[in-house]
């Protein structure tokens, strides 16, 4: 299998990851043979529709897949260590310390009965041997660096005393506290006001850069991703359908699904009479058809698409796509 060339050794290398859910109505292959690399300092967007398996990738990396879900195969190499085979004890030391996670809804990801200070302090107590005064000092600095004023007083406040945007700042502060090398942000701005979204994204980008960390930004919103990420991996039905550098993916994607996602973004420069959309819905993931999973919704589908599953292969520039008839290879509209 051809792999995207990397100039640096990857910090994270996910190889043929399979995370399946064994439900009563069948096996849901939420993540099926997903591979990607992430270099130190790199930000990757993991994009796809709801139910496409994006979040499951994030939780798999942290070993937080609960039954009936299970990692069935593949490797999750963090600096060469396979997290898919790591013990729960080892994973617990990695969570928060090496890999931190930012959740979708800041209204619910903070514990309502504990103060902000206690929830921040917990991270440092778990992963450092700083004394209480040093931990407190670090928490205050961290809160200030995510733009929360009067940080000292705020440590005593409870989550419900903050607005949504402020809470997400607190969550980011908690995630960055132990200087993790990888941040997994699962739809970090979806639950926020539009006016706040861009602020939070810029804050995350700056924090990640300041700490020299890498980030996986899980989102369904390509517009959000394009402002922040270096490269994009597009998932459809639990599989990678396209990946490449952000500029190439956004300007001229080669997979029809990516094209559809980009065309669904409202564009104020070109007023369209109607916003275009991808016809149809995601197929039942418990019962996927033979061949390409996207063919029923695809304007370019031909007979071959129903027979053979397309493999991820290079198309143009930095792009790899899993498509028999990628855009820009002749004969397209």
């Amino acid at each position: 299998m051809t792999m995207q060339s990397e100039s640096r050794d990857p910090l994270l290398s996910v190889r043929d990851l399979r995370t399946w859910f064994h439900t009563f109505s069948g096996v849901v292959k939420a993540v099926n043979d997903v591979s990607f690399d992430l270099a130190q300092g790199e930000i990757m967007g993991l994009v796809g529709e709801s139910g496409g398996g994006k979040s499951v990738v994030g939780f798999s990396i942290l070993g937080l897949i609960d039954p009936p879900g299970r990692i069935e195969g593949g490797q999750i190499l963090l600096d060469g260590e396979d997290l898919a085979k790591a013990s729960e004890d080892r994973l617990r030391k990695i969570r928060g310390r090496e890999i931190a996670m930012i959740f979708q809804d800041p209204m619910t990801s903070l514990n309502p009965v504990h103060t902000i200070g206690r929830q921040m302090d917990e991270m440092l107590r778990l992963h450092t041997d700083m004394d209480e005064a040093a931990r407190r000092k670090r928490c205050i600095e961290m809160l200030e660096s995510v733009g929360i004023s009067q940080a000292e007083d705020r440590l005593r406040a409870y989550p419900h005393q903050f607005s949504g945007g402020m809470r997400q700042r607190v969550v980011i502060a908690i995630a960055m506290l132990a200087h993790p090398r990888l941040i997994i942000a699962d739809e970090p701005t979806t639950a926020l006001d539009v006016t706040i979204q861009s602020q939070i994204l810029k804050l995350m980008k700056r924090q990640v850069a300041d700490h020299g960390a890498s980030m996986i930004l899980v989102t369904h919103d390509l517009a959000v991703v394009s402002e922040v990420v270096d490269k994009i991996t597009v998932l459809y039905c639990g599989q990678v359908v396209e990946r490449g550098d952000v500029r190439d993916v956004i300007s001229a994607p080669s997979h029809p699904y990516t094209r559809g996602l980009i065309d669904s973004i409202p564009n104020p420069d070109h007023r369209q009479p109607r916003l275009s959309q991808i016809p149809g819905t995601v197929p039942d993931i418990r019962n996927l058809p033979k061949g390409c999973n996207f063919r029923d919704r695809c304007p370019r589908a031909q007979a071959l698409c129903a027979q053979e599953e397309p493999k991820l292969s290079p198309t143009r520039q930095s792009l790899f796509a899993a498509c028999h008839f990628p855009i820009g290879t002749g004969g397209d509209a």
Partner: protein, 321 residues
């Protein structure tokens, strides 16, 4: 907080007044207490005289206002049967009841919470199913049967514990307690276990329901993503969030056990106030019943007040107004 306390105090007075009226009315339907206190072959004149002494010759309304007037002067009435102040009769039995109730609640809570947390966090496991079936059994078994079984095995067959009565007591600040002597404990355990069974089962089920609800919350997963251990997530982050309904039921059960430990006290010959209530009802000893039920109402109001305060300590989003 101050306004809240005043409000609750006013509420308490209203509740106590309502209880006194209801008990007075009810007792007037349940027979003439005179016949309970005089010899069966008394003459008409003797009956009349007894009636006058007890104040039963006046109308019910008059009797009630005399009672209310005395109450305001700190006189809670005198038992028809014992010829002693009703309140003294009750208060001298209160410590014995509190003793077994406190031990029962400690037993119930220390067992119910860990089992409930386990069953709530691991709903599918066989052990959880066993715990839940056990709790159903605990709810369905009548207290008197549990008490009798305990007596049969521990007192009769194995002779580990005595079957009835209260053991040696020691006075602490003028209140007798059997919790400081070995003999006292050997008498306390069986009735306390009997009392605890139902409460244990209910608290366990409530804890489990709370934990199941809480387990789905994002902050539990966020805590795990921070690297908190599974145990730390359950007890440090989960339990407190699921505790509000547990504390509510705890308060109700506590009041219920203090007020109506009657059956258990009867089985174990425990000299508590529950037994006094039953005896007083048989003898139509209205002054004792009225004061008893007013005291019970007072206990419930006070417990609920404390529970409300506890809510605000558990969950910072709750404030008392």
């Amino acid at each position: 907080m101050f306004a809240y306390t005043i409000k609750r105090l006013i509420q308490m007075v209203v509740v106590l007044w309502a209880v006194s009226v209801i008990v007075f009315l009810m007792m007037s339907f349940t027979g003439d207490p005179v016949f309970m206190v005089i010899p069966i072959d008394s003459s008409e004149a003797e009956i009349e005289q007894a009636r006058r002494i007890l104040g039963l010759d006046r109308s019910l309304t008059e009797q009630y206002f005399i009672f209310l007037g005395n109450l305001l002067q700190g006189d809670f009435g005198t038992s028809y049967v014992f010829r002693q102040p009703a309140i003294d009769l009750i208060l001298e039995r209160l410590p014995a009841t509190l003793e077994i109730v406190v031990v029962a609640m400690v037993i119930a809570t220390t067992i119910a919470i860990p089992l409930g947390v386990y069953a709530g966090a691991n709903p599918g496991r066989p052990l959880s199913r066993l715990i839940m079936s056990g709790s159903l059994l605990g709810i369905s078994l009548p207290g008197f049967w549990v008490g009798m079984m305990l007596i049969y095995f521990f007192a009769v067959e194995w002779r580990i514990f005595p079957s009835s009565g209260r053991g040696d007591t020691v006075e602490v600040f003028g209140v007798p307690t059997s919790l400081l002597t070995a003999d006292g404990w050997s008498h306390v355990l069986l009735p306390a276990i009997t009392l605890s069974v139902g409460t244990l089962a209910i608290l366990l089920r409530i804890t489990r329901a709370g934990m199941m609800e809480v387990s789905r919350q994002d902050y539990m997963k966020f805590a795990r993503a921070k690297g908190v251990s599974r145990r730390g997530v359950l007890y440090g982050h989960g339990l407190r969030n699921g505790l509000i309904p547990v504390v509510t039921i705890f308060g109700l059960q506590l009041g219920d056990l203090i007020a109506f430990a009657t059956i258990t006290e009867t089985i174990f010959g425990w000299p508590g106030m529950g037994k006094l209530l039953v005896d007083s009802i048989y003898r139509a000893d209205r002054p004792v019943i009225v004061v008893y039920l007013m005291l019970v109402a007072l206990i419930f109001v006070v417990i609920n007040f404390l529970i409300d305060i506890l809510y605000t300590m558990i969950d910072p989003r709750i404030t008392v107004k």
